[in-house]
């Protein structure tokens, strides 16, 4: 189904939101992704993905947690919804299923 398709980047963003739990906002997510993947992440791409994921219903957000270091501005704190959790689980399931179907010989470097 079109609506439930999850891109790789989107999946990583969802997982980051999960990891950060109660402080999952834009910049923290960027930091987390950079730390985990070693890639440089543009702050705008992260926000773009967050907006999309919220529109798809995998995330919900609220404003809060302003600090001095951000000019007293609120963060938009994200949280996984039930649907978000479900889609992550499905994605993992799918991978596991497919992993299992790959013959062992592939991993052992055998030749046909």
């Amino acid at each position: 189904m079109k609506g439930t398709y999850l891109g790789e980047f989107e999946e990583l963003v969802l997982l980051s939101v999960g990891i950060l739990f109660d402080d999952a906002y834009g910049l923290a997510i960027v930091d987390e992704l950079e730390k985990q993947t070693g890639r440089t992440i543009m702050i705008s791409s992260a926000h773009k993905a967050l907006v999309r994921l919220e529109e798809k219903g995998y995330l919900k957000s609220k404003l809060g947690g302003s600090t001095e270091t951000r000019g007293g501005r609120d963060k938009r704190l994200y949280q996984l919804t039930q649907a978000g959790k479900k889609v992550l689980a499905e994605s993992r399931e799918l991978r596991n299923e497919m992993w299992k179907q790959v013959p062992k010989i592939v991993w052992e470097g055998g030749k046909l």
Binding site: Y25, G26, L27, V30, M42, I43, S44, H47, K48, V51, R52, L63, S66, T67, T69, R70, G71, R73, D74, K75, R76
Partner: protein, 885 residues
């Protein structure tokens, strides 16, 4: 305070807040600030600033923008709706739309064509690479009562300037050669437009050479540089470098260069150049003597024109002093103190064509006055067309007032209504402009013929012009739409829906002002047309002092050599040939240099008269049909007549009223030996116009002698073609080696006023156009008004009003406006036309009836337009108009 030092550029913040939607703005800004503060710890402010700006820019994406105000899709729908409504309005009132679009399109196409013409006129000589540094030398001379403004200078002016004045980088000279006979096969073809040119020609002007070396092409005697099309004419190919042309049957010239054809927007249009080195008099060291070289100076980059001019004047004074001393025995100061002077000025190359008309211009120049006149006409026509549009739109507002009221009630904002009306008007304009471009493409060949210029329609599609056209379309659309838009959108929905605004603004002062302006412009143009045509007619009919009809001029006489006399005698034997005279001095060629004559052998400046000296034979006066006022003509039986001189009236007046006949005149034959030639006045000829009628007749003298510049034949009235054929047969039998070329003098005369005639024609067309457009508008208005008052008319008829009464009622309002327009237009018309006429020394008088005719014409046209509608409304059966509610 702390924050100020650590905050990113303010404008970036503001920009972000402006475009970003509410949902994200706060949080994202927080994120970016946090990142910024973090970065500031490890990098300089500028770098952090730059990265911040980069971050902001990365957010300019739909996901961050959208949702801020109305969603994008919604605005699209709104515009789509504007177009739909515009289209429906078009269809609903086809008549109005037609008048609107056609009126605008015709007006716009006239503007496009005039625009192209003006662009062409303004583009003269701007293409030269060094155009901004090239100047033409002008000499203004005053000695005695002679005052001359010349476009030419003495032979060594340029060379001397180059040596003595550091600002001058290069110089070049040009002079008319006249025409060459070039042999092609067995025939000789006349190549007109040949010039003497210095070898530095190509350093100053941008004349791309296709074959040959520009640096050396004009160095050697007997060489010639020709244009590509001349090359093709004689060789059917262009790479003819090193080929030889046989010239005038005897000499040969080697082609040392082939240049590209000269663009049409260049102030000289020569097709061949021959080297000045062949001319010994080109090195003549005189300063006061002959001024006959068109001299151009190339200044060094950055050199000031003003400074160069003052240095050039000093240079002339330095050289002139010794020369005056030796000729006149006077110092420069003495010479100047008598009110005489030699003054040098410079004309920038791009200004030569439009802003200079001195004696000795190489080719006829344009006239900046006409550029202004036509620009004004274009503006007038455009404004008339726009006014039509505005008038019709506001008049129709009644029909749309309800629509506006309804829209307002439904919550439409004023800005949205303005948007809608502007969209409608821009759309009309776009359609009109497309139509206009079509019309322009269709009539440009005709237009070119009318103005005698090769303007290409492809000019319309250059990015520059295309851009202007696009901007013009939008501008006209917005301008024409703005009044109706604001007028309509300001309606109070309550009053509109109640129906009290349905009269369509009967009392619209603004609309009346527009109609007045329209008709004032039309009356102005009608008067202008009438005056121009009267002046042209005046030129045609003016007694120019000789009889120019049935005069045939033959060319190539200079090549006849010793056969000239026998040609003359045998032509005289032909029946139909009355008289024959041999001379190149004809009253239809422009410039010939003046020469100085003195009334005393001591050569005092105060005794000097500067006049043209024409060498003619003893048949000249009779052949030309000139009139001797006093004295007698030259006679071949009187040997002393070789020193006889016939003056024209102006010269006689100049010399005073006492006994002129037998008076002695002296002329300096040789500056070095001071040899004098003495002349004795034997006759006075009635003044005849020998240059443009823009100028007064200047002093002129005939002396007798052989000048083989042409042969002019007076034909008897009757079959001219037969006479010409007979002359051709004679010519072939005597000079079969030379082409038989001729022209009629009256045709040459007409040629002198080609510019005026072309402008006259153009003005007529545009005046007609403006009247048609005005009438279209008036017609629309009248139709509308009649429609508005249908019920009133019905009631009036029921009450016993007559058809004529109602027609008058309906026409009266409009006629009042036209009368006001006439009152305003006439002083303006008087002012402009009298200024134009003053540019002619001989001109027709402004008479009151011209203005009367123009006014009555405008009134009649307006009346006809309006009354068609008025009568139509008046004859209707009142039952029809009163039955419907």
């Amino acid at each position: 305070m702390k924050q100020n030092q650590t905050s990113p550029p303010r404008w970036a913040l503001r920009f972000f807040k402006w475009f970003c939607n509410q949902h994200l703005a706060e949080a994202v800004l927080g994120d970016m600030l946090e990142l910024y503060i973090r970065r500031r710890k490890s990098m300089p402010k500028w770098k952090a600033d730059a990265l911040f700006v980069a971050n902001v820019i990365q957010f300019v994406q739909p996901f961050a923008i959208r949702g801020k105000s109305t969603p994008t899709l919604n605005t699209f729908d709104m515009y789509k709706n504007y177009f739909t409504i515009a289209w429906r309005t078009f269809l609903k009132s086809k008549g109005y739309s037609f008048i609107n679009i056609v009126g605008l399109a015709v007006g716009l196409s006239a503007c496009l064509l005039i625009g192209l013409y003006v662009k062409h006129e303004l583009s003269y000589d701007r293409f030269h690479e060094k155009a901004d540094r090239v100047y033409r030398v002008n000499m203004e001379l005053k000695f005695g009562d002679n005052h001359l403004n010349l476009a030419v200078a003495n032979p060594l002016f340029g060379e001397t300037a180059k040596i003595e004045i550091p600002q001058v980088e290069q110089t070049t000279r040009l002079q008319w050669y006249g025409s060459l006979l070039i042999k092609k096969g067995d025939d000789n073809i006349r190549e007109r437009n040949v010039a003497w040119a210095d070898s530095t020609l190509f350093d100053v002007f941008t004349l791309p050479m296709l074959w040959g070396n520009p640096a050396t092409a004009l160095r050697e005697p007997n060489s010639i540089v020709i244009t590509e099309s001349v090359a093709r004419k004689y060789f059917d190919r262009a790479d003819v470098l090193g080929e030889t042309l046989t010239i005038n049957n005897t000499e040969s010239r080697k082609i040392t260069g082939v240049i590209k054809d000269l663009p049409s927007n260049m102030h000289f249009q020569f097709t061949s150049f021959v080297p000045v080195v062949e001319r010994e008099d080109a090195l003549d060291p005189t300063w006061a003597g002959s001024q006959n070289w068109n001299t151009y100076l190339l200044l060094k980059p950055g050199a000031s024109e003003v400074e160069a001019t003052s240095l050039l004047n000093k240079m002339v004074d330095n050289h002139l002093g010794p020369e005056l001393k030796s000729i006149l025995g006077k110092t420069l100061n003495e010479f100047n103190s008598e009110g005489n002077f030699f003054k040098v000025s410079l004309t920038a190359l791009p200004d030569i064509y439009l802003r200079s008309s001195r004696i000795g211009e190489l080719f006829g120049t344009g006239n900046i006055q006409y550029v202004y006149i036509f620009s004004a006409i274009a503006a007038c026509i455009l404004i008339i067309a726009i006014i039509n549009f505005m008038n019709l739109a506001t008049a129709r507002s009644a029909n749309r007032a309800r629509e506006v009221g309804m829209r307002k009630v439904m919550g439409s904002m004023k800005s949205a209504l303005v948007g809608q009306f502007i969209t409608e008007s821009v759309l009309t304009c776009v359609v009109a402009m497309l139509l206009a471009v079509g019309i322009a493409i269709g009539i440009i060949p005709f237009f070119n013929e009318l103005i005698g210029k090769p303007i290409e329609i492809s000019l319309l599609f250059t990015p520059q012009v295309g851009g202007i056209v696009l901007v013009l379309t939008l501008l006209v659309g917005v301008l024409a739409g703005s009044y109706p838009a604001f007028y309509l959108s300001a309606f109070q929905p309550v009053s509109v829906l109640k129906g009290s605004k349905s009269s369509g603004g009967k009392r619209s002062v603004f609309r009346n002002v527009l109609v007045v302006f329209q008709f004032a412009a039309s009356v102005l143009l009608i008067t202008g047309t009438l005056i121009v045509f009267r002046q042209l007619q005046f030129i045609q009919q003016k007694d120019v002092g000789y009889n120019r009809s049935q005069l045939l001029t033959l060319y190539n006489i200079d090549k006849l050599g010793n056969r000239t006399e026998s040609m003359k005698t045998s032509l005289l034997q032909i029946t139909g040939v009355d008289k024959v005279t041999v001379t190149g001095y004809l009253p239809v060629n422009f410039y010939r240099s003046n020469e100085s004559f003195f009334t005393s052998p001591s050569l005092e400046v105060k005794d000097m008269i500067s006049m043209q000296k024409w060498t003619v034979d003893d048949d000249y006066v009779q052949t030309m049909g000139m009139q001797l006022l006093e004295g007698r003509n030259f006679s071949r039986d009187i040997a002393a007549d070789t020193s006889g001189i016939i003056l024209n009236e102006s010269a006689a007046k100049f010399l005073g009223t006492d006994q002129i006949l037998e008076k002695k005149l002296y002329r300096l034959e040789n500056e070095q030996t001071k040899e004098l030639k003495e002349y004795r006045v034997i006759g006075i000829v009635k003044d005849f116009n020998f240059s443009s009628l823009r100028e007064q007749v200047k002093p002129l003298a005939f002396i007798t002698g052989l000048n083989d510049g042409g042969m002019t034949v007076r034909l008897q009235a009757g079959d001219l073609t037969q006479a010409v054929t007979a002359i051709e047969t004679k010519w072939k039998s005597i000079a079969s080696d030379l082409p038989f070329e001729y022209s009629f003098l009256d045709a040459d005369f007409d040629q002198l006023y080609k510019g005026e005639r072309q402008s006259g024609n153009l003005i007529t067309y545009f005046a007609t156009l403006s009247i048609i457009i005005s009438c279209l508008g008036l017609f629309g208005l009248a139709t509308f008004m009649a429609e508005q008052r249908t019920k009133e008319i019905g009631i009036r008829k029921v009450m016993g009003a007559s058809v004529s009464g109602i027609t008058t009622l309906l026409s009266k309002d409009f006629l009042k406006l036209v009368v006001i327009a006439v009152v305003i237009a006439i002083p303006a018309a008087w002012y402009f036309t009298s200024r134009w006429l003053q540019s002619f020394a001989y001109h027709t008088e402004l008479e009151w009836w011209i203005f009367a005719v123009a006014s009555v014409l405008a009134l009649i046209i307006a009346l006809l337009t309006v009354s068609v509608q008025a009568i139509k409304a008046a004859v209707q059966n009142p039952v029809n108009s009163l039955r419907v509610e």
